[in-house]
């Protein structure tokens, strides 16, 4: 992924086509890797990629969905926009899931789709799709390029919009005659002028003071730490702030790692499968300080019972998130780091939280996360703990969606930020494995583990070709319960045990499948086997797939059933 000296747009190697200009613009933006898939409408762009080889790397995925989830993984780890290219029509529509996923989880992406030539747009030409209309509700912004000379401005704006304020995906639709079009003159340097886009990043001092005063007066304050802290690179500030005032911290699913899991003030994850202490802290709190979380319903449960006694403060860079779901008394529109720095500068006194922490510690001790060891097979929770151990808790962990995702969230205790890649808002099966590819490309020296379900893995497993081809040492752990486990769990608990279409009676031989893709594969059927195999698997400098057979009937607990309040958890103790 090393990039040679960046060619300058202004030098004598003047671009020849719109596509050449585009590639130069991407190199100037510092883009190192393109996640893509070619097709008719982007052939001119692939021609330019061919000419620019050596200056920019392109990774060919095996499905557009794989390319965009990889770009999301890359964006989550680096904080920089992942750049995706797909052709018009089916190429573009294959991206829709990934674009929506990035929108929901505020991941910066810049996506280029080919489009039919301007002259035939609107005629249902071959591989024409109305990508602008399709993606308007699922992008932060989108553009269709109408003139080659607009390209520099649009590309610059797109990167700016994608990566500032609340990050998100920005799509640029490029008609083929634009990318193939010859440049008559090299467009001038552009500056960004976006009068309708001026994110507020510095907090209002009066509101900060108000929050500081509220903290001084609180008896039972609690911080809810969301992914906004990761976007703001403010984990250190969060921990310092919590420690200064001795305020306990609940994290959201996406906020895991914002505070070290072993910090005594950390209560773990809140929400549907959160810890007892985290959920009760929010239930009993008299001051709830939300930093960069969006009060998703999987976190809050029934809003009627959410933080019923709390004054709510909400720090978010997106004003529309404040007051959207939960009435908020102290709104603070700001970047998370700026707000935390200002809060630390306040002189207001710390509250006395000794008694409150005692209560919460009692909850922690009395109702910890639990699972049973079963002599007949491997517990999935134990599997996650074993992976934690062998990776010293320092791996980059990506997951798919389902039970294994929740177990990874519960049992892979993150000590550091920017190690956790999961699909939160959209809950996209098929996300985990390609996201691991992008994460590994972003962080070549890190151990990257893709913890996936046996069902979700089958949605995007074709990208096994990519890890072989690129020699990416991703470790794939299939938490194989022979079921759409999360669906099965809901059917057992909430639908009278009517197990409808959620058992996978037929599965491929995952080991042979790995081998077919030239990758090492092994099947693990017992704890002993796992313990013997894990160290060598993680010592091996190449990709490995482990098909780990776990108990099918295991369920994720605690659980807040849909419609229930945050204090109405079931399964807080072994039955």
């Amino acid at each position: 992924m090393k990039v040679e000296a960046k060619p300058d747009v202004q030098t004598s190697t003047a671009p020849k086509t719109g596509a050449d200009l585009l590639i130069d613009l991407l190199i100037n933006e510092g883009v190192e890797t393109l996640f893509g898939y070619p097709g008719g409408a982007v052939l001119p762009i692939y021609d330019a990629i061919y000419r620019a080889r050596g200056s920019i790397k392109h990774v060919l995925f095996r499905h557009e969905q794989g390319s965009i989830h990889a770009a999301e993984g890359y964006a989550r780890i680096t904080g920089k926009p992942g750049v995706v290219i797909a052709t018009s029509g089916p190429g573009a529509t294959n991206l829709v899931t990934g674009i929506t996923d990035a929108m929901m989880d505020s991941l910066p992406l810049v996506i280029f789709t080919g489009q039919v030539a301007r002259g035939v747009i609107g005629t249902d030409a071959f591989q024409e799709a109305d990508v602008m209309a399709i993606t308007t509700p699922i992008t932060k912004h989108n553009y269709q390029v109408q003139n080659i000379s607009d390209l520099p401005r649009i590309v610059k704006e797109a990167f700016h919009i994608a990566s500032t304020g609340r990050p998100g995906p920005v799509l640029i639709d490029i008609p083929k005659d634009i990318s193939a079009g010859e440049l008559s003159q090299i467009p001038e340097e552009v500056t960004i002028h976006l009068p309708g886009y001026q994110p507020t990043t510095k907090p209002n001092p009066l509101q900060i003071k108000k929050l500081a005063d509220a903290i001084s007066k609180a008896m039972k304050p609690v911080i809810l730490a969301g992914a906004g802290i990761l976007h703001g690179k403010a984990s250190k500030e969060l921990t310092a702030f919590a420690e200064k005032h001795k305020i306990p911290v609940v994290t959201t699913l996406l906020g895991l790692g914002t505070i070290p899991a072993t910090n005594p003030l950390s209560l773990g994850m809140g929400g549907m499968h959160g810890t007892y202490s985290a959920n009760m802290a929010m239930y009993e709190a008299d001051l709830l300080i939300n930093i960069g979380a969006r009060f998703d319903d999987r976190l809050t449960g029934n809003l009627k019972h959410f933080a019923p006694n709390a004054k709510v403060a909400h720090i978010d860079v997106d004003p529309a998130e404040i007051g959207k779901n939960v009435p908020t008394q102290i709104p603070i529109v700001s970047d998370s780091k700026e707000a935390l720095v200002e809060l630390m500068n306040q002189t207001a006194e710390s509250p006395d939280t000794v008694g409150w922490l005692e209560t919460l510690n009692k909850y922690k001790a009395e109702f910890p996360l639990w699972y049973k060891h079963n002599p007949n097979g491997m517990s999935p929770q134990w599997l996650i703990e074993a992976i934690h151990k062998v990776t010293n808790g320092d791996a980059v962990v990506t997951t798919d969606v389902g039970q294994h995702q929740m177990w990874a969230a519960q049992y892979y205790n993150f000590e550091k930020p920017h190690r956790w890649v999961t699909s939160g808002g959209l809950g996209t099966m098929g996300f985990g494995f390609p996201a691991a590819i992008g994460a590994q490309m972003a962080s070549p020296g890190s151990t990257v583990v893709a913890i996936v379900g046996d069902a979700g893995f089958q949605m995007t497993l074709q990208e096994l070709s990519v890890i072989y081809e690129q020699n990416l040492p991703v470790k794939i752990i299939i938490v194989n319960n022979g079921a759409l486990g999360m669906v099965r769990q809901w059917q057992e608990l909430l639908h009278g045990n009517r197990i409808s279409e959620s058992i996978l009676n037929t599965q491929p031989d995952f080991v042979k499948l790995a081998e077919a893709y030239h990758i090492r594969g092994l099947k693990i059927e017992s704890q002993e086997e796992l313990i013997t195999k894990l160290p060598e698997v993680f010592a091996y400098d190449g990709p490995v797939l482990m098909d780990c057979r776990v108990l099918q009937q295991e369920k994720v607990f605690p659980m807040i059933a849909p419609g229930k309040g945050i204090h109405e958890m079931i399964g807080v103790k072994p039955s």
Partner: protein, 173 residues
């Protein structure tokens, strides 16, 4: 409650779709929408009349609109001193004999007959929507063949009395 929201937007292709799509997706009811150019080239003004349940929903709709990159300014002007007008064309059944009778009805509304044919009259009226509704009710007995309305367009009066606290939702800081 019905609220009048005035939007200043960049005149780019797709901007109307962005606004209406957003309102539909977030389940806001649009009673009317009108768009047109302004004194500044490249800038358009949209006037939306939306039906919202409460303050919280109102705040949400203005914030979501503000998030659109092509939207420059959002203001809820319902409670301000504004001039607000709609134009309607109403085709009523009847021959020219009816004309004087109809004129008697529409005169107080300062409406005009702008087209007459063998079996119909077309009336043009400008005013606030409730005034237009009132005229339509009065004309109904004659048999209304067709109605076309532009939707409300509005802006602030030159002078704003300092009565009630003015709320702008462009940014909560």
């Amino acid at each position: 409650m019905k609220r009048i929201i005035s939007l200043t937007v960049q005149d780019r292709s797709g901007v109307l779709n962005r606004v209406t799509g957003l309102l539909q997706r977030r389940q806001f009811n649009i009673s009317s929408i009108s768009v047109g150019p302004t004194e500044t080239e490249g800038i358009s003004k949209m006037t939306l009349v939306v039906e919202v349940e409460d303050e919280q929903r109102l705040e949400q709709v203005t914030k979501q609109l503000n998030k659109q990159i092509d939207v420059l300014k959002v203001s809820d002007i319902t409670d301000k001193a504004i001039v607000a007008r709609e134009l309607a064309l109403i085709k009523v059944a009847g021959s020219s004999q009816l004309r004087s009778e109809i004129n008697g009805i529409i005169d107080p509304f300062r409406a005009l007959v702008i087209d007459v044919s063998k079996d119909s009259l077309t009336i043009q009226i400008t005013g606030r929507p409730d005034k237009i509704d009132a005229l339509i009710d009065l004309l109904r007995p004659y048999g209304i063949k067709e109605i076309a309305r532009t939707g409300l367009t509005a802006f602030l009066r030159g002078h704003q009395p300092q009565v009630n606290e003015l709320t702008t939702y462009s940014q909560i800081k």
